[in-house]
Amino acid sequence: MQSDIGFLVIFMPVLYAAILLAYGLSFFGSFPTIDRIKTPLLIGTVLVHCVYLALRTLAFDHPPITNLFEIMTVLAAAIAVGYTYIELRTKASTTGFFILSMAFGFQTVSSLFIRNQYDIPAYLRSMVLGFHVSAALLGYTAISLSAAYGFLYLMLYHEIKSSRFGLIYNRLPNLEMLETMSHRAEVFGFVALGIAIVIGVLWLPRVFREFSYWDPKLVGTLVIWCLYAAELSAKKRLGWQGRKTMIISLVAFGFVFLSMTVINLYLSGFHSFH
């Protein structure tokens, strides 16, 4: 099993590079064969990724959520699964190159630095923690997807407004669909983050003696959650639509990215496990 995992650590980024290449070629050029095989290839990659995660869980006797690089591969898988779901639902496969490049990035960084870790505290084997971390990861993945669709929306918006019709115009789905995708992903992310926060606040104080409500990760996530709550309610109550909301989404995501990077890298609390 060890050697299988070792192989998959190297093989996963190669697979993601291959699907990225396929989606890139089919976005920027015209290759009927690649158009046909890219979705099966993506589904295959997602399955292999699931096998990889399952093998890691079995081999090291804990879900792969105990350190940053384990989390990154889970994040990559979550993005790939989320995108596959969207592609199969909407039949629009042209956004794949942009979304999957995030999965490729996370998987590559993860594969470069990931270590085989057997030695972890007992609380990290808990199922409740599994739910907590899964919900948080799903939440952040959905928010990332929402931002990616927001970004594509703005690119297309700009092309249509300025009458410069290029690849983006030809290949992307319409503005309304991009907006809907972005919005749905945001709502999903908001709910998932809410669940993560509730589980965390109820469960964490019982397990960690050093638990503090001023933990940076908790505060950061709460701020982010409130930000999205405000944005979603503004959309609903004030009827905000189109370009402005997409910019707000992107700004919010920028804040998420910055705050999470700073919190993970520079601030430490009970909430970091690596």
Binding site: F165, N174, L175, G239, W240, G242, K244
Partner: protein, 429 residues
């Protein structure tokens, strides 16, 4: 191959000449029946508003172009306005090449016209129903449809709107996801405006509203297309309730100002508004374009889209030509293989005839007990003579890329041994 084609198209004749030569489905059926009776083993007639073309496999070695032209003109009773010089002929490979070009849209008036493939398909269906589609035309039809399909999937020659009204519809479908849930307001009842509205309705736009200075005109249009009439004086209010606006009013001043649009956008919670201004002079102040979620296009912007799309289509022609070349080679290869078989058979039959004749002539010179041997020996001689040329011909037919060599061999053999025709008849039987 004695495939022959003759036709009239926008290259050779103006619309008033072409329309005189247009044939309805019934006319095509009756013309095909007569053509088969007089001139062709197999024939197909393609008739659209831009072309009327006849493709056929002649019964004789050569087809009389002038006679066929006369037949077609007389059939339509159009000798006053149509002349023989309006028709352009093509032969053999040239005719196949022409048909492939027609089906792929590169020969169309507007490059990449997507309707033509369907019309060609219909023409072949009519020919099949009329019993004028034999094995060669049948194969030609398959190849033609294959060319059309490849051109559509492998090139982008059919992509992009090439008329102002379609460009507007295309833009609408890049902004909105589901047009059936959107509504459109037509201001003014100009021709292009109405055409754009018709295209939008064709694309399934949910609701139509029409405003016009003369209310009766708007009412007449609503009667024809459905929808509701809106007061021309309350135009700006109507903008709050629709998603797409098509305006083509004759007015010296702007009928919609940026302030109006600002107010409208606030009222409609910044729901995207797509304005197609085809009025000249323009109806909507272009400064409105700067407002968020407002997509304003005037006639020049739309024409620019059309021009760009046409350029893109033109740039795809080399790809199409290359597909046509590949399919042409494939068709010719099939056609040659068709000829090799019958030629070998004829060759064999010719030598066998000679052998039988000579044996019959001289059989009495042999003793009765030797006659069986005589038959055997002569048969062996003939088989030995046949062996080498037959093998070479068969090998040539099986190896790709040697079509011209094969044609030469078959032709030389037929000439040297005086075989008539071209071997196609045998395969048809």
């Amino acid at each position: 191959m004695n495939l022959f084609s003759i036709g009239i198209s926008h290259h050779s004749a103006s619309v008033d000449v072409r329309e005189r030569m247009w044939l309805s489905a019934d006319e095509v059926r009756s013309a095909l029946a007569r053509l088969k009776e007089r001139y062709f083993h197999e024939c197909v007639l393609v008739s659209t508003c831009n072309r009327t073309e006849l493709y056929g496999i002649g019964t004789g070695p050569a087809v009389d172009e002038a006679e066929l032209t006369r037949f077609l003109i007389d059939f339509k009773g159009a000798s006053e306005s149509v002349q023989g010089s309006h028709f352009l002929p093509a032969h053999a490979t040239g005719a196949v090449n022409h048909l492939f070009k027609v089906a792929s849209g590169v020969d169309s008036m507007v490059i990449g016209d997507i309707q033509i493939l369907g019309q060609v398909k219909d023409a072949f269906t009519l020919a099949r129903e009329s019993g004028t589609l034999g094995p060669i035309m049948n194969r030609l039809m398959q190849s033609t449809l294959h060319v059309g399909k490849r051109v559509r999937t492998e090139t982008s020659i059919c992509e992009g709107a090439v008329s102002v009204s379609y460009a507007a519809v295309e833009l609408a479908s890049k902004i909105f996801a589901d047009l059936s849930r959107k509504s459109v307001l037509l201001i003014g009842a100009g021709e292009t405006g109405e055409l754009t509205l018709r295209h939008l309705v064709g694309k399934g736009v949910g609701h139509v509203k029409i405003a016009n200075r003369t209310r009766e005109k708007a009412e007449a249009l609503v009667a024809a297309m459905g929808g509701t009439v809106v007061d021309y004086e309350r135009l700006v209010d109507a903008l709050c309730t629709v998603d797409i606006v098509v305006t083509s009013v004759n007015s010296p001043t702007y009928i919609v100002q940026p302030d109006d649009v600002h107010r409208v956008m606030r009222q409609r919670s910044h729901n995207p508004l797509f304005i197609i201004d085809i009025g000249v002079p323009r109806n909507v102040n272009p400064a409105s374009r700067k407002i968020d979620n407002v997509f304003l296009y005037d006639i020049d912007a739309l024409s620019a889209i059309v021009d760009r799309n046409l350029q893109k289509r033109t740039a795809e022609i080399p790809k199409v030509t290359s597909i046509i070349r590949q399919e042409l080679v494939e068709f010719l290869r099939w056609h040659n293989s068709l000829q090799i078989g019958p030629t070998i058979q004829e060759f064999r039959e010719a030598l066998e005839d000679i052998r039988v004749q000579e044996v019959a002539k001289n059989v009495n010179r042999f003793k009765p007990e030797d006659r069986e041997l005589l038959d055997l020996v002569t048969r062996r001689i003939v088989n030995k003579i046949l062996h080498q040329p037959t093998t070479v011909l068969k090998q040539g037919g099986e190896s790709p890329g040697r079509d011209s060599e094969n044609i030469q061999r078959v032709r030389a053999l037929r000439e040297l041994f005086g075989f008539s025709g071209n071997g196609e008849k045998k395969n048809e039987a």
